[in-house]
């Protein structure tokens, strides 16, 4: 909303709240746009960020590549018998656009296939971390007192174990099925999130509207559900973005250590591990295309997270 001069004179009460009416004063200085809903202002700030839009476009491209690509571009992704007959470590050709890997699978096909696992697992694990983190943080911050002290000391304990150590131990202890990998990455990722969201809950429960609700006799659960949670959604969304990036990174690191998804399935980390066995042989097509795709995925998600953070930043809103 742009206005120069005095405060808006005419307002109409609609479902969306108080809406200033389009006015034009005599000297033509004071002009009012129609009321812009909050989410649209935020969307506008987000869309102003060119890098963020490029990141979204890139992520859409990668998702399409991994999930729709195999339906259009038929290559040998999983057929072991066929792979045995194919050239191993073959350079890029018309048949195999990005060459073949050490087992004879088509590299491009494997990138799509591994991407399906890496992206899906990362996404799901990220969601788990955010759900646990939110619940833990909300309960701790909102209830406060002894519960808060206890939960936070517990969190301190979790936070003081290096994540990678915990990850390694858990992954070797449990069998490496898809479900277990998601669960393990989900379970170790939420500590930091819980702390951020607890801070939010602590802040919001002291604000006037929460206090007012409490004065009117609202129960704890009601205040959490109707006031604390909706008002920390912005932070949760931002944190969730980074959580997904972290989850994909963890999964890939595990894959590199040889603890990724077992054969015949694969993920990007396992593929990078395979590529690393042949560094000195100069099979560049096994390393670089995947490395670039992967790094850009993480960078894109991080950019989107930063842009979201900016979009939710109240100080930047045009009010």
């Amino acid at each position: 909303m742009t206005f120069s001069g005095e405060l808006p004179v005419g307002e109409v009460l609609t479902d969306a709240g108080l809406v200033p009416v389009n006015l034009s004063s005599e000297n033509g200085e004071a002009t009012f746009d129609a009321f812009v809903p909050l989410w649209r202002q935020r969307l506008r700030i987000f869309l102003q960020n060119k890098l963020a839009i490029a990141s979204v476009a890139y992520l859409v491209f990668v998702v399409l590549l991994c999930f729709v690509g195999p339906l259009i571009w038929h290559t040998n992704q999983t057929d072991q018998a066929q792979a045995l007959l194919a050239p191993q470590n073959g350079p890029p050709s018309a048949h195999d656009l990005l060459g073949t890997d050490s087992s004879g699978y088509d590299e491009l096909g494997r990138i799509m296939f591994g991407g399906e696992y890496s992206l899906t697992l990362g996404m799901l694990a990220g969601v788990i971390t955010i759900v646990i983190g939110t619940l833990y943080g909300m309960v701790s911050g909102f209830l406060g007192g002894l519960v808060d002290t206890f939960l936070m000391r517990l969190l301190d304990a979790f936070l003081s174990i290096p994540v990678l150590f915990l990850l390694l131990t858990l992954v070797t202890i449990f069998q490496r099925t898809t479900v277990n990998l998601i669960a393990v990455i989900g379970v170790i990722g939420w500590f930091g999130n819980a702390r951020i969201i607890r801070g939010d809950a602590l802040l919001i429960k002291q604000l006037d509207y929460s206090q007012a609700a409490r004065a009117m006799g609202a129960g704890r659960w009601h205040i959490i559900r109707r006031h604390v949670f909706p008002n920390s959604v912005s932070n949760i969304v931002t944190v969730a973005t980074f959580a997904v990036a972290d989850a994909i990174l963890f999964l890939t690191t595990l894959g590199y250590l040889g603890l990724g998804i077992p054969l015949p399935a694969t993920d990007w980390g396992t593929m990078l591990n395979n590529a690393s066995q042949y560094l000195a042989n100069g099979y560049w097509w096994q390393l670089y295309p995947l490395a670039v795709i992967f790094i850009l995925v993480i960078v894109a998600i991080t950019y989107i997270g930063e842009a979201l953070r900016d979009a939710f930043e109240v100080r930047l809103l045009e009010r």
Partner: protein
């Protein structure tokens, strides 16, 4: 101050015990049960009686609380971390041998990354929202997105195989090998430094930014201080607080980073031992190393808080509520 210190130490001890409890209970959930490590230690085709015998020798069959108490009292009262299930050495012996090897790499890269990140953060903050700021931020973003192992792999490909031909594997059995053959450590230290840098400089920038908007900076400028003096005398000292906290929190992260770097560069430090121990279910060693890093984390936090008091007198008396 003394009371504060004692309270903090007690708190740290409680956290330490919780960590010990959780890591101790974990093997009970192993796929294949608590005896799973026996099959790895005795190879896959061990007879049931051999497995049982192994369990008896390693006190597996005692009830949980007895085992936990034995371990707890061993660690706390006798400083005994037990014996490795795979190597013929005590856990403490392994830690004593391999931790120094890691520490030199971690320390070198920490010092290097702070030396680079500090001025970079100050410069970025003073030139914020300029092309310089954006380009540095973007480069660091990309670095942040590169997982440790990939960065190391790329460095090995470029600087060891394709050109320059730096040695990719820092060898030498001495823990002081880094001083005898610094060239061999160039790649791993550089890789770890870049990784730390990506993490640290973001905090440096925002820490300095927070200071630059303060009134005393405006006053300093008003009385005619040069830009250099404002940045390096007035802002720097006041930005130190948050930076120290970050560094304190960063200590264990350094170990985590070294874990991957050591694995890629095939350098036998504590990180390498951790991967081995976890892969082959050498539970006592995993436990020992986890406890060690926990202590380091807690110590890092505590030292950061005390240092904070040294740098900023205002927080010295208050402690925490």
């Amino acid at each position: 101050m003394i009371a504060y210190l004692i309270r903090r130490l007690i708190q740290s001890f409680v956290v330490f015990v919780i960590v010990m409890f959780f890591t101790f209970i974990l093997p009970y959930f192993e796929t294949g049960g608590i005896l799973a490590p026996a099959y790895i230690a005795l190879q896959n085709h061990a007879s049931p009686s051999a497995v049982h015998q192994w369990g008896v020798t390693h006190d597996i069959f005692k009830p949980f609380y007895v085992r936990f108490w034995d371990y707890f009292s061993g660690v706390v009262f006798h400083f005994n971390l037990g014996y490795s299930w795979r190597q013929t050495s005590s856990v403490w012996g392994i830690i004593k041998t391999f931790v120094p090897r890691t520490i030199w790499i971690a320390l070198a890269s920490l010092v290097l990354s702070v030396i680079i990140a500090l001025p970079l953060g100050i410069l970025q903050a003073s030139k914020r929202n300029t092309a310089f700021d954006y380009s540095v931020t973007n480069v660091l973003f990309v670095l942040y997105g590169v997982p440790a192992f990939l960065l190391s792999l790329l460095m090995i490909t470029w600087f060891s195989i394709d050109s320059i031909h730096l040695p990719p594997v820092p060898n030498g059995s001495s823990s002081l090998a880094i001083f005898y053959d610094p060239k061999a450590f160039l790649l791993p230290v550089a890789a770890l430094t870049l990784l730390n840098l990506a993490f640290l400089s973001r905090f440096m920038r925002s820490a300095v930014l927070d200071v630059l908007v303060q009134d005393y900076i405006r006053t300093a400028r008003a009385k005619g201080c040069s830009q250099m003096r404002v940045l390096f005398r007035h802002s720097f000292r006041n930005a130190l607080g948050p930076i120290i906290i970050i560094l304190g929190l960063f200590l264990p992260g350094l170990f985590g980073g070294a874990l991957i770097i050591e694995e890629v560069f095939n350098y036998e430090g504590i990180g390498y031992q951790t991967v081995q121990a976890a892969t082959y279910l050498d539970i006592p060693l995993v436990l020992g190393i986890t406890l060690l890093t926990t202590i380091m984390t807690l110590a890092g936090n505590l030292i950061a808080d005390i240092m904070l008091g040294v740098v900023n007198p205002r927080v010295r008396v208050e402690g925490r509520k």
